[in-house]
Symmetry: C2
Subunit: 346 residues, 2 copies
Amino acid sequence: MSQNPFSLGVSRRALLSGLAALPALSMLLPVPATARRAASDPLRSWNNTASKKAIVDFVDRVTKRGSPDFVPEDERIATFDNDGTLWAEQPMYFQLLFALDRVKALAPQHPEWKEKEPFASLLRGDVKGVLAGGEPAIAEIVIATHTGMTNEEFEQIVRDWIARAKHPITGRLYTEMVYQPMLELVAYLRAKGFKTYIVSGGGIEFMRPWTERVYGIPPENVVGSSAKVKFELREGKPVLMRLPEINFINDGPGKPVGINEHIGRRPIAAFGNSDGDLQMLQWTTGGSGLRFALIVHHTDAEREWAYDRNSSIGHLDKALDDARARGWTVVDMKNDWKTIFPFGNK
Amino acid sequence: MSQNPFSLGVSRRALLSGLAALPALSMLLPVPATARRAASDPLRSWNNTASKKAIVDFVDRVTKRGSPDFVPEDERIATFDNDGTLWAEQPMYFQLLFALDRVKALAPQHPEWKEKEPFASLLRGDVKGVLAGGEPAIAEIVIATHTGMTNEEFEQIVRDWIARAKHPITGRLYTEMVYQPMLELVAYLRAKGFKTYIVSGGGIEFMRPWTERVYGIPPENVVGSSAKVKFELREGKPVLMRLPEINFINDGPGKPVGINEHIGRRPIAAFGNSDGDLQMLQWTTGGSGLRFALIVHHTDAEREWAYDRNSSIGHLDKALDDARARGWTVVDMKNDWKTIFPFGNK
C-alpha cells in the first residue's frame, strides 16, 4: 500500500490488475545456471556479514533434527515480495513499463487515443504527463492493457514481452534484472525443505508465465493482485475472460490476506523491501516459534539504486523503523552483497 | 451453482462463507490406514468395471515415459469436489449441519434469537421452518456462525466440532463418512505423481483443518468459497478477522475461476458429482492433450443414498447429460464400488 496516495507509488494499486495466466505448459525449464553453480557455499554472492549469518543461523535452527526450534518440512513456508526484493523496480515497476509498451503496441487499433488522456500524453512520449494523472490515469492504462482478453491470450502477451523487452537504463532483459544473492537464497531455502512463494503487489498473471524459469517458483506458488475473471463458453470452448475490474490488491494489509487465502498456513520466514511488505512481515513474525523477517534495503546507488524513505517506488519508511525496533534483518545491499545482478552491476 | 434458486441447493451459495483457517500446525498426521493398506491393487475397493478401467488407462497413458499422451509431473493436476464426491452430503451438506449446531451452541449468548427468525425456528428444532426461509435465512445463519471471529478462532471451532459431532443418521463422525474408493483414488493419483487438490463450493476454512489428516490434501491445496478477511493489529498482535461478507463463491462457473486463481494451471483430471461441478469438468476437458473427467453418480439407496435430477442437494442433471454426450466416466456407486465407507455401509 503506498504511503502517499498522490505519488507514483499509488500506481501499484491500479497495476495489480495485472493477472490471470493459464496452465503454464512450458514451465519446466531449469533454474538459471547462476542459481545452481554454488558448489560449496550456497550463498556465495553474500559477503560474510551479519545478514548472511542471521539467515544461516535461522535455517540451521529450524531444520536440524533435535533443535528446540525445529519445524517440519510441511510448515517451512517462505514468502518473497517480488518488485525490489527479487528483481529491480527502478525507474518504475516493470509491470508499469509493460503497460506503457502495450499502449504503444495497441495504439494503431485505437486512433481515438491520440486525443484522449492519458493515452495522448503517453503516445507523445510524455510519461511524466501520464503519471501526473495519478491513480485514475494509471488504472485506465492498466485496464486497457491487462483486461478484455482471455487469460491464455494475456499469458501469451506477457511471454512475448518478457522474452524481448529491454530495461530502459541497462538495456538488459527484465528477467536478467534479478538479484543474484536472492536467487541463491531462494534456492538455498528450497534445498533446506522450504516451500518458496512469491507474494507480490504485482499482477499474479503478469508473473506466472516466467517465475518458474527465473526463480524456480511454479505458478501455484505465486500470490499477487488480480482482475476479476469470468468463465464463459465461446462457441462451446471454455475460456476465462479478464474483466475490466479489480478483484484483489495483494499489497500492504492485503498480503497476509492473500497468503492465508492461497497457502492457508502462516509463513515462518518472509522477505520484502518496502512498506508494502510491512504487514506480511508482522504476520509472519507474529506466529509462535522461531520466525525470520528480512528487508532488502537499497543502498547502492552505483551498482543498483539507492532509495528508501523519500521514494514513491519502493517506499521504505515505517517498515525500516519497525525492522530496527524488532530486530528484523536489514540487508545493506552495498555492503552485504558481493554481486547484485547475474550480469554484474547496473 | 444451484439450478433452482428456491431450493435448498441455494444454501450452498450462502454456505460458502465457511472459510478462513490459519497455519494448520497439526496437519502432519498420516493418511488413514484404510487409504494405505492397498498392497497389490491400489484401487481394491473398486469393482473391475468400466469406471476402474477408464481411470487406470488414463493414468497409464499420461504417466508412462514414451507414451504419446505423457504429461510431466508438474502438470499432473487433479481436482476433486468434496461434498458428494469425497464425503457424503445427505441429508444435507455437512457444513450446514455444522452451522445449525453452532446456532444451538451460541444460543445462550443470544437470548434475542428466541424471538428472531430463522434462529427461533431452528432452536425449536424446526429445521424445515428454517429452510423455508430460503437463501436469506441460510445466509443469516452462516454469517452468525462463520464470521465475527479471527481465522484462528474459527479454525479451533471447526476442529472441536469435527472431532466430536456425529452424523444424524449413521451416528458416525463426519470424517468417517468419506468414500473408501475415492480415498484410494486420491492416494493412487498422488503415488503416480499427481498433485491433488480439493475444489469445493464449501468453505475453504471449514475444510482446511482436517483435509490433510483425512485425504492427505494439505491446506495449500484446498480451494473453496470464502468470506472477506481483514488484517488487523489487536494490541500489537496481528490477526485476520472474518468479516460478515462473502468474498468468493467457488461453485459452478466459480470453480474454473478458483482453480485458475489458486493453481494457475488447468487440471488434466477432475472429479465431481453434481451440476455445480459442470464447469470444472468442461474447463478440465477443454484443454489440449488427454484429459479425464469423472462424475460420481449416487445410485445406491441401500448402502448410501440414491439421488440425482430431482435432488436439491447434489443436484445432477445437465452434468449427467453432458457426461454421457462427451464420454466422461460416470461412476455407478452401486455397481462400481465394492465398499462405500471405510466402516462399511450407511
